[in-house]
Amino acid sequence: MQRRLHITLFTLLTVLLIVAAFGDLLLGTTHISIDEVWAVLVGESTNANYIKIVSDLRLPKIIVAILSGVALSVSGLQMQTLFRNPLAGPYVLGINSGASLGVALFTLAMPMFGVAQGSLLMRLGLTGVAWIGSAAILTLIMALSRKIKNINVILIIGMMLGSAISAIVGVLQYLGSEESLKAFVVWTMGSLSTVTRGDIAIFAPAVVLGLVLSVVAIKPLNMLLLGENNARTIGLNVGRSRLILFLSTTLLAGSVTAFCGPIGFIGLAMPHLARLTFRTADHRVLVPASMLLGALSMVLCSLVADCVAHSSVVLPVNTITALLGVPIIIFVVVRNRHRQ
């Protein structure tokens, strides 16, 4: 019976995702008719301007929305199970603070110290520094994880690291010039449209690799539902599983943060929505369910941003994900408390 519910839900979500993605292709600051969009997609369009808009701007944006939604939801699911904490999300290890430190150093501190345009550091770009920042935090957490057995201690350290780094970023913001400050703030709001087709060639493989690791981690995640001690006595190599999950989450959430900025609430809310709708804790169902829900919600956020967009004003995606994600999280928390 539950199996039938799952098949129905998977089919429904896939159809919704395709409809929403196609709808998003139609929307934008330039009006292009359905026929024209279809013509571009099947390669029969002759209007160079439309081809450029659809295949160079809108299509990459939708691909980025799907990839980032999938990545954030799966890493959120992993962290919620690993830490056995419903409020854990993709950024619980401090990955976003690492990335934001990298970006803050790049946009705020480097102009201060007069690092020349076009130098090697500059060529790394925002993406590069954000990635290095996330990876640095991950390395630190993994080193601690070898010594520290209690997963909650790691959770607290991750959060404290995040606060400390925020403070450093705050100092940099205070000292930075107005111009560089704006560049930083824009990054923190998150954007799907700054990712180019060239970027996708790096972004997509990183996300896919993270997803492969998350599939490998499905059985360990199910075992971890019983807690780390129980997982150990049913034969789980806990150290190795943590390593796989940390790596996977950094590849997933770290890449999204590097390319699109910190996008909040999707990674926290979608795994809850998956458990709520699919009524299971089995990761063989929850991983694909979170992927679909994540992709759908990000495409919807992008759709909302496009609907609201007039002329050249585009809303930062972070504001929309928060407006969508916060009610879901509140609903889940209230519902759980209510039932107990």
Binding site: R84, P86, V216, I218, K219, N222, M223, L225, L226, G227, N229, N230, R232, T233, I234, G235, L236, N237, R275, L276, F278, R279, T280, A281, D282, R284, N336, R339, Q340
Partner: protein, 251 residues
């Protein structure tokens, strides 16, 4: 089945148990007794290889736990701890299925044999009526039985339980311990459980392992009752043990 050789336990300078050597056989149920903080849980965790002894070796099924991988050990020994599993949308059937992990493939899929084992374990633990319930809707007693079903699904010759009767009311305590005794005798399991219920331990278990700091005394239940160890350990100004009625009485 389980053999301790010169096991010493403790934290840093503080020794809980020194040089304990004994054996626990299949088909027998052993109660692990001792005052608070004397190392009952530590001993169980050490046997389950969740922590290392300060000294000595634990043998499970003839091999030292130091040489067994966690997967190999998980096919010989299961452990029911005091941790309450409180996960949203996790059904009883799913929990017991996770107990099959040492035998399932990389995705954790159950084959027919696994499913039969899960059903049998649920039936043995007497929780068939809960099969489709979610774990966060269960009472403590029901949850404890489900965790025992999970350990049974693991299909190990040895089962350790850390204070399985805490949080249970009196009828449930006896009911649970009777279940453990039946499992030991009918399924030929080697069962060790720690408890503070002296009367239950004495009336239902085949042998008693008593932590008499820093020694571990392991005797058949009748011998233990007449050895004088229990009176010595559990007597205080207010209560005393009476070997004739096998119970604790107020003085």
């Amino acid at each position: 089945m389980i053999e301790l050789r010169n096991i010493s336990l403790g934290f840093g300078e503080r020794r809980l148990i020194t040089s304990a050597t004994t054996r626990f056989e299949c088909g027998k149920i052993t109660a692990l007794l001792g005052r608070n903080g004397t190392g009952k849980s530590t001993l169980l965790r050490t046997i389950a290889s969740l922590q290392r002894p300060l000294d000595g070796e634990v043998f499970v099924g003839g091999d030292s736990t130091a040489t067994l991988s966690s997967q190999e050990l998980s096919r010989r020994l299961s452990f029911v701890n005091t941790e309450r599993v409180d996960v949203e949308a996790l059904s009883v059937y799913e929990i017991v299925s996770i107990g099959r992990s040492p035998y399932t493939d990389w995705m954790g899929r159950l084959d027919n044999e696994d499913e039969a084992m899960v059903r049998r374990s649920i039936a043995l633990a007497g929780v068939e009526h809960l099969t489709n319930r979610y774990v966060d809707t269960l009472s403590d007693g029901e949850c404890q039985r489900v965790m025992i079903a999970r350990a049974l699904a693991q299909d190990t010759p040895a089962i350790l339980l850390d204070e399985p009767t805490s949080f249970l009311d009196l009828p449930n305590r006896y009911e649970l311990c009777r279940l453990l005794r039946e499992l030991a005798h009918n399924e030929n399991k080697c069962i060790i459980f720690s408890t503070h219920e002296l009367d239950i331990a004495l009336s239902l278990s085949d042998s008693i392992a008593l932590v008499d700091t820093p020694q571990l005394v392991h005797l058949a239940t009748d011998e233990m009752i007449h050895s004088g160890n229990i009176e010595r350990l559990f007597n205080s100004d207010f209560v005393g043990f009476d070997p004739v009625t096998r119970s604790i009485k107020l003085k």
